[in-house]
Amino acid sequence: MNKNFRYICAALLALAAAGCATVNTVEPAYPVAKVDKVPDKRIITNNTLNEIAYVVEVDRAKNAGGFEEVQVKLQNTKSGAKLVNYAFEWFDQNGISLNRDPQWHSLSIEGGEIRSIGDVAVWPNAADWRLTLSESVGYSPDMQQGPVGGGYHHQ
């Protein structure tokens, strides 16, 4: 009985270890890029999601094509790889939505990793934007039992 219990514990520990993969990163101590950081307002209804896709920074710029662009840096503060979904909605000067059914995307983030997501406003009158994040309901890369259904992976 005791022996079996030890085997089960060892197996569970091994599975837990397999699910904990974090990343190490290196970047310049004094970055040359001058980013236009945007103060943001956050509405958090899911604390777990806020931990697996924590918004570190929001930047905006006019890109080479002359279009408004927004970039959001997300960090997975957990120790295992996670999948999140996100969509950007754009608004004009009057606050009217320019894409009422925004396209959802899937993003895989390793434990501790910071990933940049972004969107380019194809509308010349785009003024504001909103980012919506949600937990993936499909396959998660660190599922211990393996994927059950289909799901999007790294893009």
Binding site: G65, Y139, G150
Partner: protein, 206 residues
């Protein structure tokens, strides 16, 4: 004691059920319902391209095309003309490649800086009525039809790769798009957008 345990268990089951219901999880096998076409509740098949894959790939491609500023303003005061060349389907599935192109066309038009040429491969036109009307108007006014030669052409290819490990399948679809400057006959932009799906079967949502 047994009664208390039974009540507690019942409460736990009830709370769990309520929790699941509150999460608004998709109802696989339930009654038919409308879903957001670009949302995250669509069916995902590992072995085939889904509707949302075209939209995701097209969105990524347009974003990159506009971001790089590859399409220059060729006619100050007027839109730059882009024509859609051939989109080659090299996958094992049959589908209308317009599923990819229509989203790209719409996004480019929304910029207000780009117009899509109706000129198609072989000098054909995508809108026969428009061409006939233009020809008729030109004939009646004794003029020539306006020159609608494109400034740029878009050529694309859809490729795929399938693999598996045990009973887990993976399929990768690569939507590759190239922009050619007609005046120089050179490719000035190219972007492969990859959609990779992995799993044992189909699922609802991603």
């Amino acid at each position: 004691m047994k009664k208390t345990t039974f009540i507690l268990n019942s409460l736990f089951i009830l709370a769990g059920g309520l929790g699941l219901a509150a999460c608004g999880s998709p109802q696989a096998g339930g009654s038919a319902q409308y879903i957001d076409p670009n949302g995250e509740r669509a069916i995902v098949n590992v072995g085939r391209i889904n509707y949302q894959d075209f939209n995701m790939a097209a969105g990524d491609l347009v974003q990159d095309l506009l971001k790089t500023g590859a399409i220059k303003d060729k006619h100050p005061g007027g839109p730059t003309l882009v024509a859609i060349s051939r989109i080659v389907n090299e996958t094992d599935q049959q589908f209308d490649t317009d599923q990819l192109i229509s989203t790209i066309r719409a996004a480019l038009l929304q910029t207000g800086k780009i117009a899509i040429s109706n000129v198609a491969l072989g000098g054909a036109t995508t809108d026969q009525l428009a061409q006939e009307t233009a020809n008729k108007n030109a004939f009646m006014q004794n003029t020539t039809t306006p020159n609608n030669a494109p400034d740029y052409t878009l050529y694309g290819k859809i490729m795929y790769d399938k693999t598996s490990a045990g009973d887990v399948k993976q399929s990768a679809y690569i939507f590759d798009l190239q922009l050619t400057d007609v005046s120089t006959q050179t490719t000035i932009w190219e972007k492969p957008a990859s959609i990779v799906k992995q799993g044992k079967g189909s699922s609802i949502g991603f």
